[in-house]
Symmetry: C2
Subunit: 370 residues, 2 copies
């Protein structure tokens, strides 16, 4: 397997559909109703916000609405039978399904369908037999092809370029929101087509909130400043975190920083194909525990990234599935002390049979901003 | 009813809980399991990304995880019984429900619960009787109190400030992504805590895509440039659209622009409490139809805004519910011609018994950018 990020020379969609059809046959399903928009994008290329997709052994039918009539043709072309529904997509679905022969047992995405739409299947769709499925397409998505890895690398490069331009502009007196504005403008200038999640700028005691919202707090000398953000290109996300000290670090800040930095390095170095998510998580967690900060690392080590910023696989204490070759995950240990502050260092790592390759190159040493 | 946006002097959460409890009593429910995060925020103030809330006639129990331990105390304080769950929130739910007396019939949010979690209710939660509900909290949220209107007005002001600073910087040669970066930095400088949806910058033929994604297309003289974006403050959103011409407008551009501008003005002027969503939509649609562009206005007239950028009520061809006093909606007619371009003009309008009040003040006349 190439480790060097050469784009796939062939069109990936037929390969993905073939892999999905194999999975459906193994699950004894005649078809899959795909409702997750990220899964629809993966299988067809369509990036709109309203769609239903039906995949059978032979057919691939994509339904969307008027707003996307032009876009869906451009993005999907001949890779699916496209239906622009004037009314509700669900009304269109019954008509489309009725036209498909030998389709009885249909899987639906249990994590990607709200109860109200599930009730439609049992009512208007009562003539078919509906079976809940879990992560069928997500499992395919977890293994990236070389073209996908290239896109994630580009999203990482955009994020790092933006960070490099932003860090020299950080100074006491700026609000967290203003810092986010500087960072996001640099992300846009680097070509990021969107923000994969709300950028986190958390300073001082607010850096102890693992999922802080960016606020109007003013940066002060002595603060930790934690930036957790990403870029998106062609739908693929990056997700990185760096934590800085504004001015000179105290001994306490330096100690916590060094523990997180070492936990990050150990996990990124040790992660391997075939290891469980739990074992990967334990590499960082056991080290942080051994340094006396175990209680302060309350979230899991990381998660897959791709078309979604949180996707399979998970690196957490409860995951017993072995990691597959081709996954791209975040490695993001952290230590959080309420009222005092916190540190997180997050990288994006590609996992091949040859070992881990860290996609993020931005320095991890403690950086005291003068 | 005040029309002048004075903040509510009293704490709104007890009032909201009381209104919800009345609705539960009318629906013959002992409790409601709230899974929609926007509904949880409305009822408790908690803005985290992982929570379950149970409301009974007497109790209000909020479950979240470690990451939010500090934040939930700050945001919710004494307004709910807070439970930080070490394991899965659902495991915590069964324990919390078991401790509540006289709770048998429990509503759940049919539009806010995925099938996988619905299946948990039937399995691990089998000792209770579960009833699907639709838009119970959403219906309360549609009617804004004066404090909420003030926050939406602030979000509108942030968006307009950003637009005023951005427009003079538009020129041929910029990419749409770069324009988004300029606009979003100005939104942040104006204090916007987040972006309510991915900003749309659509130029030239791309302005004909009603849900365009911002792209790397370079702005050219003669383009329509459509900006659709918003700001957020204390969770409340604005959502506005303006369309400009880069250089001198052609007669064709001017005609389409004038039709949309007039449709916007007619709808904003005519909308009233008690009117149906369908009737409001028809004011703009009939005018556009009469000018020969009916086929080119393929989406609905507008939607409620508040804690979510799309919420109740809807202004569309199929909505027969009368509009309540206190709603805040978008009015956003558009005309789209594939391959040529499109125009949309979107305002935010507060509806009281005294009539409509247009919250957006940014000019709507055709602006040719030199």
């Amino acid at each position: 397997m190439s480790d060097h990020g050469v784009p796939a020379p062939t069109e990936p969609r037929p390969t993905r559909l073939a892999a999905l059809r194999d999975a459906l046959a193994r699950a004894d399903l005649d078809a899959l109703l795909v409702t997750s928009l990220a899964n629809i994008r993966y299988l067809t290329g369509f990036s709109g916000s309203n769609a239903l997709l039906v995949i059978t052994a032979k057919d691939c039918v994509l339904m969307t609405d008027f707003r996307y009539a032009t876009q869906v043709e451009e993005e999907v072309g001949g890779h699916a039978m496209i239906r622009i529904e004037r009314a509700n997509l669900w009304t269109g679905l019954w008509a489309q399904l009725g036209a498909l022969v030998s389709v009885e047992r249909i899987g639906f995405e249990s994590m990607g369908l709200v109860h109200q739409d599930f009730a439609r299947l049992l009512e208007q769709g009562a003539r078919w037999s509906w079976r809940p499925t879990t992560e069928i397409v997500e499992t395919l998505r977890a293994v990236k092809d070389p073209g996908e890895v290239v896109l994630i690398e580009r999203a990482v490069a955009m994020a790092e370029t933006a960070l490099r331009l932003t860090v020299p502009m950080l100074h006491p007196g700026l609000t967290e929101t203003a810092v986010a504005g500087i960072l996001e403008r640099h992300l846009r200038e680097a070509g990021s087509e969107a923000f994969p999640f709300p950028s986190i700028v958390a300073s001082g005691p607010r850096s102890a909130l693992p999922h802080a919202r960016t606020s109007e707090r003013v940066l002060e000398t002595g603060d930790f400043v934690l930036l957790d953000f990403g870029a998106v290109t062609a739908g693929y996300c990056s997700d990185i975190t760096r934590t800085f000290v504004l001015g000179r670090a105290t001994d306490g800040q330096r100690e916590v920083y060094d523990v997180v930095r070492e936990a990050n390095a150990r996990a990124s170095g040790a992660i391997r194909v075939g290891m469980t998510g739990m074992a990967a998580d334990a590499v960082a967690r056991d080290y942080i525990d051994s340094r006396g900060f175990g209680e302060a690392f309350g979230h899991s080590l990381g998660h897959g990234i791709g078309l979604e910023v949180h996707e399979a696989p998970r690196l957490s204490r409860v995951v017993e599935t072995p990691l597959a070759a081709g996954t791209v995950v975040t490695i993001e240990p952290g230590i959080y002390r309420a009222g005092w502050g916190g540190v997180r260092i997050e990288d994006n790592v590609y996992l091949s049979d040859a070992g881990p390759r860290i996609l993020t190159g931005y320095p991890r040493d403690l950086h005291e901003l003068s």
